[in-house]
Symmetry: C2
Subunit: 334 residues, 2 copies
Amino acid sequence: MTGIEEVARAAGVSTATVSRALSGRGRLSEATRARVRAAAADLGYVVSAAASTLASGRAENIGVIVPLLDRWFFATVLDGIAAQLAPRGYDMTLYNLTDDPSQRRGLFDTSLRRRRVDGVIVLSVVLTPEERRQLAELPVPVVGLGVPHAEIAGLRVDDTEVGRRATAHLLELGHRDIVHLGWVTPDGVDDGLDIPTRRRRGFVQAMAGAGIRAPRIADAGLTVDEARRRARELLTGPEAPTAIFAASDEMAYGVLSAARELGIDVPGSLSVVGVDGHDLAELFDLTTIEQFPHAQGERAGQAILAELGVDGVTAPAASLPFELVVRGSTAPRT
Amino acid sequence: MTGIEEVARAAGVSTATVSRALSGRGRLSEATRARVRAAAADLGYVVSAAASTLASGRAENIGVIVPLLDRWFFATVLDGIAAQLAPRGYDMTLYNLTDDPSQRRGLFDTSLRRRRVDGVIVLSVVLTPEERRQLAELPVPVVGLGVPHAEIAGLRVDDTEVGRRATAHLLELGHRDIVHLGWVTPDGVDDGLDIPTRRRRGFVQAMAGAGIRAPRIADAGLTVDEARRRARELLTGPEAPTAIFAASDEMAYGVLSAARELGIDVPGSLSVVGVDGHDLAELFDLTTIEQFPHAQGERAGQAILAELGVDGVTAPAASLPFELVVRGSTAPRT
DNA sequence: CTGAAAGCGCTTACAG
DNA sequence: CTGAAAGCGCTTACAG
């Protein structure tokens, strides 16, 4: 492969000048810069990442710690991150966080510490205290997105407000027998920083505001299937609700599916609202709180670039937007 | 950060020995190896990726070129790849291929040529001849997964057989008025190597086997929405089919949705079969050809590791398995 | 504005 | 089995 020496020779300058011309760092006359760039393009020269990183300390690479890579939400967030990083020449290295303790140890003890990345984005995962400590000790900035730990700074949707908003929508439609179907608060999160707890809290607050104390809350796993099972119980039990606020769109699909099986008309006899703005929500005609995961990813990308002092990137607001999208799965109580 | 010198001093050996002990390359007495490893663990020493890569030429990193990061299928494949790479200490750097020509040029001219990766996995994307040439010229192995170009070796599902199998299922149920709803063959693919063409071909072959010449074929975009629109036309037009073979599950959802809107009973009056084994196929009770995307990713990971000569990894078979999963969206013709 | 040279932190052929 | 030393290919403080 062509090296920097050949480019220097072709352009009639030193390797130092080639480096400066190509990286854009340091002052250089426009003429020299242009000549060097032309020579490099000519020869098809590209700077070796390893050599450049070793000499400069900059890797131009961002690590992203992501749980459950195959969930739609995270894939969309990743796409948003990539959209911010790529145009600035940053690569994105993925670290999939599983439940396997030895895999996790490998990630925190080794992979992240190889100095391969200039910064880390952590997508809503629950970390052990030890893992948080290791993250904090990394010599690079860390940005969280929906991470339920106070010590990891980052971006966050106001999920309490999300819960309130979804519930308010149902209350405005005249519903009173509303059940919130959430998912279980994971172990080890900081008090009230995890998403299910906050959505639940918003629900409770909104219901209280409408004079309803001790509203009904149910839990299920964060999957279509478990939500379907739980919804079946709720809808066939005594005092079937007239509305269900599901904590995610995929859980809402489970509710819709259970209703269909039981012959319960949506929205005639049951209103359903979800959260996420999932890909297929429109297909299901599901009312939901859209939370723009692509834009969340873009902001996370901006946040880490801003921390790195990349030119022209300013830190985005820490609070992420959301929006109620009313579709056909909710209707006035009859 | 701790360097290799400190570890050498702590263990009472040279840096060469530390390197050998930690990498596992070269002969070394067990005692020395253990002593060095203990010292390294003690000091929390981790080899610098940049220095190691520069000196050895090995990056322990695989690049993955992926289209449309937010589609479920590719996210699942990625998860499979990661599952193979991580345990062997390989990182995975994502290169999102968009339609933007300047972004693509940046990827092929620069990003991939920085010698940051030891190998590249390309997930079913359509490449220009120039891009293919650049890929072939990379000094690292390239493995394709469903790539529609003959010069990129790789893994592939026998999509002709997939089309035949899906169609055969409908024929066995007694259907004759079957429409295949596929997506448009992209420009620039090698003849008959792209997925939609092969599924279509399998459909035509199976129909011909049943004595049906010139069977009906429709095209739509590869999305729920476009499929829904197209299905609406098919189902309200003259000679509405009794069965539709959709070329993807997401397209099949569009068909189901159109049928629901039109009050057409599935599977009573219309049978629908898809392809993919999508996440939500069970929820929709959709008969489909499951093609195990997670396993596809694992195989692609194995394939690239095998090319790199990683210990204990053997090249998987190039032909990927699939399986008809019969659910409630198909039934005998009435 | 530009160059000579040291140095980034490892790996590995060579020698013993 | 182990070490001394060259070298991987850049970047950047220093000097001019």
